[in-house]
Amino acid sequence: MTVAVTKLRVEDKLFQNRYLVDQGRPHIKVRPHEHPSANLLALTRICPAKCYELNDKGQVEIAADGCMECGTCRVLCEASGDITWNYPRGGFGVLFKFG
């Protein structure tokens, strides 16, 4: 298929959503690492909010502000210890208007 999906910015999608960000208290943390595991690396592609990105040293970093709390990263990377996952504090995080 030749559907043009060039330059799709997920940031533009997330812009529609409402969030109450708990400043300075991210609910997901990535364990410091030299080289990311395959699953951690996969998150840079499959996180639906694109929270995970590679830095210039080839390590995976997270900015959890746009997180939709789906749990995909938890299912893939919590057991190995690559990440720690908690719910945001009550009332914080994504607020779906429609859901």
Binding site: L14, R45, C70, R89, G91, F96, K97, F98, G99
Partner: protein
């Protein structure tokens, strides 16, 4: 809240949690319900279709004031390749009955309504409160801790209605965190359009609704499904695939969603719409074999948290509502007999659930997840392409003798899957469906 003890604490205000809380509170039990969102529904995501029969068993006159979008008169199943779809379509005026059997809903609105009913029934509903830990004593769950206070809130029973991504049960060692093979990641958008435009595009009148569910090359060889549901003044559409498949292919979910929206069979249906939200959620897909322990000393688990989802029939919220109601009824039954909330007594919940459509349906399809997941390329890539090719061969009138077209179609099937492969796929599908 310190010093107070509840008959039951319900974790979560989704379909399962609300059904459980309502059932218990309306029977006079002292119920506390905890919801981490700002309001009930603010963390919940669903397609969403709501089945009337299951809600009627909880709130018989729900049609009086529940926020319902459209009742469904038409269902389309599409098998899609890159430029076409082959479909089954069922539409019936019989669905225009006085008490329709299914509706599209918008969860954030519906859950607020359901929660109001829960409060009216007498439950205490506490929002913006994240339950952080189950408190246990001698292997028995005795209450929960929240992020509001370090104190334990005590209860005879805790109903875990915390959803597919629930943390508490897994942290307490009562069940496993779902594996990437047993959950799908779905992404969804809501597109607003004037009511009359939706009516026109789908051939609808009044409150009639139409749904499209589609599989095929749109999931790029992964086990997945896309959907498009008509609401009153909006269209919900999305696509979901197994998390393990996403991890293996590194396909991006939002690129998949964009490609689905841009498919020539879909694009004109949502043209000129205004997108107002983008959401993501996990869906339990493991079926019968992935159901965890459902009860223990002082606790039961319901809904998505218990993997109660029928992926073949795309039914989730009705299993959630029903398991919540049954859990509530079982707890009330034990209580009214003067029994304690022991594992032995709460086994009543499972007995009642086994006897309902919930477990009977999941048991029927127990082999389906494994079949679809291990053969995803055949079922979601090869066959849709073959079906499209076969249909095109059948439809085109270009002077080729029909017998040659038929031979070409047969040859294409055999080349792609071999005679043995075709027979074996058919037999395995039939066995899993049985």
């Amino acid at each position: 809240m310190s010093g107070e003890k509840f008959d039951a604490i319900v974790i979560g205000a989704g379909m399962a949690g609300n059904a459980a809380a309502y059932t218990m509170a309306s029977r006079g039990l002292k119920v506390l319900q905890l919801e981490r969102g700002e309001y009930p529904g603010s963390k919940n995501v669903q397609g969403a279709i709501m089945y009337a029969n299951m809600l009627e068993k909880i709130i018989p006159n729900f049609r009086d004031d529940a926020p319902l979008e459209r009742h469904l008169v038409e269902q389309r199943f599409w098998m899609m390749d890159d430029t076409s779809h082959v479909g089954i379509q069922y539409r019936s005026d019989d669905f225009n009955e006085s008490t329709p059997e299914r509706y599209t809903i918008i969860r954030a609105q519906f859950d607020r309504w359901f929660s109001r009913k829960v409060r009216e029934a007498g439950a205490t509903v506490l929002c913006e409160t994240t339950a952080t830990e189950l408190a246990q004593e001698g292997g028995k769950v005795i209450g929960v801790r929240t992020d509001r206070t370090g104190d334990v809130i005590l209860a005879d029973t805790v109903v875990l209605a915390e959803g597919a991504n629930g943390l508490l049960g897994a942290r307490a060692g009562l069940r496993q965190t779902p594996t990437s093979e047993s959950v799908a990641l779905a992404v969804k958008e809501i597109h607003f359009l004037p009511e009359d435009v939706i009516d026109q595009r789908f051939g609808l009148h009044g409150n009639e609704g139409c749904v499209i569910e589609a599989a095929g090359t749109i999931s790029r060889g992964m086990a997945g499904l896309a959907f498009l549901y008509t609401n009153k003044e909006s269209i919900s559409l999305g696509i979901g695939c197994l998390v393990s498949d996403f991890a293996a292919t590194c396909e991006s979910p939002y690129e998949l969603l964009e490609a689905f929206k841009n498919h020539p069979s879909i694009k004109h249906l949502i043209a000129d719409s205004e997108v107002k939200e983008y959401a993501a959620h996990l869906i339990p897909e493991g079926g019968y074999k992935a159901i965890p322990a459902l009860f223990g000393d002082g606790w039961v688990v319901v809904g998505d948290a218990a993997q109660l989802n029928n992926a073949v029939h795309r039914e989730g919220s009705n299993l959630a509502m029903t398991s919540g109601r049954i859990a509530g009824e079982a707890i009330f039954e034990v209580k009214s007999r003067g029994g304690r909330m022991t594992k032995r007594n709460l086994a009543l919940y499972k007995t009642m659930l086994d006897d309902s459509f919930v477990i009977k349906d999941l048991r029927k399809y127990k082999d389906m997840p494994a079949l679809l997941h291990t053969n995803s390329r055949n079922f979601f890539m090869t066959y849709p392409k073959l079906m499209s090719e076969a249909s095109k061969n059948f439809m085109r009138v270009d002077g080729t003798p029909k017998i040659e077209n038929e031979r070409a179609t047969t040859a294409a099937f055999i080349k792609a899957r071999s005679r043995w492969g075709l027979v074996s796929d058919a037999v395995r599908l039939a066995l899993a469906w049985r």
